[in-house]
Amino acid sequence: MTIEERRKERLDRGIKVRTDGIYAIMSLRELSYLTMPRLVLIVGLLILPLVMPSMYWQRVISIVCIYSLLALSFDFLAHFLGLVSLGGAFFIGTGGYIAAILNTSFGLPPLFTIPISSFLGAAICTLLLLPCLPLRGVYFAIVTLMYPLVLARIIEALNILGGTDGIYGVASFANRWIEQYFVILMVLLFLFGMRRLVNMDIGLVFRAVKDNDQAVRASGMSITFYKAIAVFIASGVGCLGGACLVHIYMWSGISQFALDFSIIPIAATVIGGAGTLVGPVLGCFILVPINELLRAFGTFRILIYSLILVAFIVFRSEGIMVYGQRKYHQFERWVKI
């Protein structure tokens, strides 16, 4: 068959009943078909710290998990709310500084600083972002990009919160196992939690805001209110990552407002597959270790890094997970036209 005469026919596997979300499972095989991917992910993440060759790579896993939290928050906002957020650095910085202040000035242990800074940081971020929530378009992206730059300059110029030196002497986690398993469990919790959330009724409202905000208003719901809830959730996840990061590094400084935290999650989302939530996590687990491996090349690594990104955008712009899910859930075959 030549190219003109054939097309690819795609058939769904016959375990879905009419719609996404209702499955008819008839055998253990079908059950394992659904549970295996999830199991592989969970078990894989949990044994990851055990198989790492050195403490350095164990530390990398923790950092990867923090980027994963940011990527989750980006994917959630971008593909379920329609808000493109460049605020990874903003969330990390806010959460990180709050955790550092709570720990050094008030003496709270990480057990308390992490939840408090997640909620307090989320509240602060949501409040600061509130003015641009009723607007459509690029404003949200611009404002989220602006805040980390502004906050870093303010801390620098006024020499508050440790100034350019940052806040030293933040308590670390009790040991490195607790540190790693805590961040891994947080990634798993928010990955599955967000997947559940976007399929719940309130999650449908979020997705409706993305598709058609006017119709949501016409149904008597304030889109600003629902956007604020979603931004609260997303920035809370980001601030949690920031708080963990501060306790891992035992230091909080203006480098936590670095744009890396905004850009790498977006790159990871491109590679992993937008809108899948698990894709961005996977993307982080590919990108961040590559970044570490290439550290030997110095600044030259940016070039290699960019090439990987460009290759993905050109050859697999849908991302790994979207491609993988399609291959997994559907049969494909060539049919003659």
Binding site: I202, L204, A208, A218, G220, S222
Partner: protein, 262 residues
């Protein structure tokens, strides 16, 4: 039922810069009636209902709903009071299956308060209720149609889905913006009884329409707009007989056809 009109629009004006889209239009809508609004393209029909429903801010004027001033309130507050609308350009929630489209209005504060359409929001889960609504509005329950992703549906179903989205919040007034446009004759023929049934359910309807024959059949009163100003208001018979309306629609074949049938 008292005799006070359910919706009073008083001297509404909307100016976009120097262009006056709606100029001092007043109208009363009585409870339970169907009011048709007609007029040539660009005569300010959609702008008028955008003003009423709060999607754009009117330059001056007042809108009273059951005697209460609602002008200047945000769109979602007005919808929450029971005035819902369909959109001329239908944009369902494309990425969601059809029945999930209705979960969103059923989740709204108004639907939670009133129980949604026929109280179903309080009785069952929202998925079940939304399929009930879809069946009532002309989706076949046992077919695949209600479960399809909304972006794959044909226009006829999308128009019904727009109407269903309004119904789900148990509205008092539905404003339909060209609900017949883009439909085939047979699809319109099946929509007309639906509109009549909504009226029997006690819902007040305001319909903007270009399909005059069907509109004249269902509506109790007609309002004609031209260049943003009210030309005439009256029963369909009065409108058909009126000289000024013929002038407004001069050259439009359909009007002449409708007129000749009258």
């Amino acid at each position: 039922m008292n005799n006070q009109p359910i919706l009073q629009v008083q001297e509404t004006t909307k100016a976009f810069g120097g262009v006056i889209a709606v100029n001092r239009v007043s109208l009363d809508v009585n409870e339970g009636e169907i009011l048709g609004i007609i007029g040539p393209n660009g005569s300010g029909k959609t702008t008028l209902i955008n003003c009423i429903t709060g999607f754009i801010k009117m330059t001056s004027g007042k809108v009273l709903f059951r005697g209460k001033d609602i002008s200047g309130k945000p769109a979602h507050k007005i919808a929450d009071m029971g005035i819902t609308r369909t959109f001329q350009i239908m944009r369902p929630y494309y990425s969601l299956p059809c029945y999930k489209n209705l979960v969103i209005p059923l989740f709204s504060p108004r639907a939670k308060r009133t129980g949604g359409w026929r109280g179903g929001g309080k009785l069952g889960d929202r998925d079940t209720v939304s399929i009930d609504i879809l069946e009532e509005i002309g989706f076949e329950r046992d077919s695949f149609v209600p479960y399809k992703i909304a972006s794959t549906l044909p226009t006829g179903y999308l128009k019904r889905l727009e109407l269903a989205r309004c119904l789900a919040v148990k509205p008092e007034i539905i404003i339909c913006d060209e609900i017949f446009s883009g439909l085939s004759m047979s699809e319109i023929a099946s929509m007309v009884p639906l509109i009549e049934r909504l009226q029997m359910d006690g819902i007040t309807l305001i319909m903007i329409e270009h399909r005059l024959r069907e509109l004249f059949r269902v509506s109790n009163r007609i309002l004609v707009l031209n260049f943003g100003e009210k030309v005439i208001e009256g029963t369909p018979e009065e409108i058909m007989a009126d000289e000024k309306v013929k002038e407004v629609y001069f050259g439009s074949e359909e009007v002449e056809e409708v007129m000749s049938h009258a």
